[in-house]
Structures are given as structure tokens and as C-alpha cells.
Symmetry: C2
Subunit: 104 residues, 2 copies
DNA sequence: ATGATACATCAATAATTATTGATCAATCAA
DNA sequence: TTGATTGATCAATAATTATTGATGTATCAT
């Protein structure tokens, strides 16, 4: 894994490294929702959620769609697929890296 | 995803959210290595790596095996499998959460 | 025993992230 | 137009993480 890919992976994982953000993703599994719905659901401040939604968006994990005065957020297929790639790479290494095992 | 699971996921993802730690995991894909080898490879301070190795270990992503005055680190199958579970759960949600789609 | 090596841990500091309470722009309803 | 609502963003602060250098504990070679 070269540097550039690693930077991207770190950003992705960082976005996933927070309980509030995992909670948000969980909610979005049910389909897109606006900030006000999420704020109501998580019972927390709006600016706090905006902050976390931005982190998720910057990482490519969610997508936003403005409509009127609402902003609807939803899971972003691409971001999640990216994530999957990173995991697969690690997974592939599991089989050959236990104690005293060598690969290639 | 309930709270307890989410906490664990956050810890796992946090461990993966740092370039140095991703670099370490990358090295360990080739098989177990001692701290001195990793320090030489990454060209950085020993206490710095000990810190990051501890984060990875606490997250269950790597395993350590003392031998003489060396400490050998290697990937931990379990931790990686845990990780996979979390990803799968997210992945499963991809198909039904795009804009204006609803699940269940 | 002495000295060197491998590594963990600690304390101090630096850097990064998160939270909170404004404020602002845009949209909409009356 | 006025006033209310949605949500982004900003500044200040708090909290968490990372880095560095120092110290301490084993282990090993001599």
C-alpha cells in the first residue's frame, strides 16, 4: 500500500472512528434523512451533527442532496466500496502472517 | 448497531485511522517482525512505534510474542475478522440506502 | 559483574479533533 | 415584507492523540 492510498485509507477510517458518526451511518442505512431528522433522532445539537456529517462527506462515505431548506444525507455507495477494497487487502494478508509465517 | 458494538468498532477504526499504523500493518503482512526491524524500516523513533503498536494491539489487530529481548509483532486474525464483520454490515446497507430509497 | 541492546512506559509538549454557542445565508410561510 | 426554520460555518474552548526525550527493566554477550 503506497503513501497516497494510505492517506485516503486513514481519512476513511478516521471518519469511521467516532461513535456519533457510526450512529449517523446507522440511521442512514434506513434511507436518506435531513439534518433535522437526525438531530431529533440523536438528540443533540445541530452544529455538532453538521460537523460530523461533513467529516463523513469529506471521506466520501455519504452524499448530500439539497431540497428547499433541507439537506438530505444518504450513504454513498462509492465511499463504502473504497472501504471494502482496503479491507480486502488486509484480509488477503491474514492467511500468511501469523507468528512465524512468511508470505511471498 | 447497538452502543457496545459501536464502541468497539470506533476503537478498531481509530486504530486504522493513522498512516503510521497502516504502514506498520503493511509491514506485518509479510510476517511477524520485531520492533527493531520496524523501527529500521520506518526510519523513526522506537518509543513512537511502541506507542502505535500498542494502539494496534489494544484494538486487537496485532499480536505480540516476546522472545529473549525482542518483541515480535504479527497480524491478529481475530481482530481483522472483527473488522470484516463491521464492514459487511455497512456493505449490506449499501443496496437500500441511496437517495430516495428505503429499507425494511 | 559490566556494558550493550530491545523495548515499554512516563512526563512534557505539540498537534489534532470535538463541542458549544453564536452568526449568517437561504428558503419558505403568512 | 416579516418572521420563522434549516443548516452551514466560525471562533473559542475543551478534550483527545501524537511526538519526543528520558528513564527503567529485562535479556544477553563479554
Amino acid at each position: 500500500m503506497w503513501t497516497k492510498k494510505r492517506v485516503k485509507a486513514a481519512v476513511l477510517f478516521h471518519a469511521l472512528s467516532d461513535e456519533t458518526r457510526l450512529d449517523l451511518l446507522d440511521r442512514l442505512k434506513r434511507g436518506e434523512q435531513c439534518v433535522c431528522e437526525l438531530t431529533e433522532a440523536l438528540q443533540t445539537g445541530q452544529s455538532r451533527l453538521s460537523f460530523h456529517l461533513r467529516v463523513l462527506k469529506d471521506a466520501g462515505l455519504i452524499h448530500d442532496r439539497p431540497e428547499g431548506r433541507w439537506m438530505y444525507y444518504s450513504l454513498n455507495r462509492e465511499g463504502l466500496e473504497n472501504l471494502e477494497d482496503f479491507i480486502d487487502e488486509l484480509k488477503r494478508a491474514i492467511g500468511c502472517s501469523g507468528p512465524s509465517k512468511q508470505c511471498e
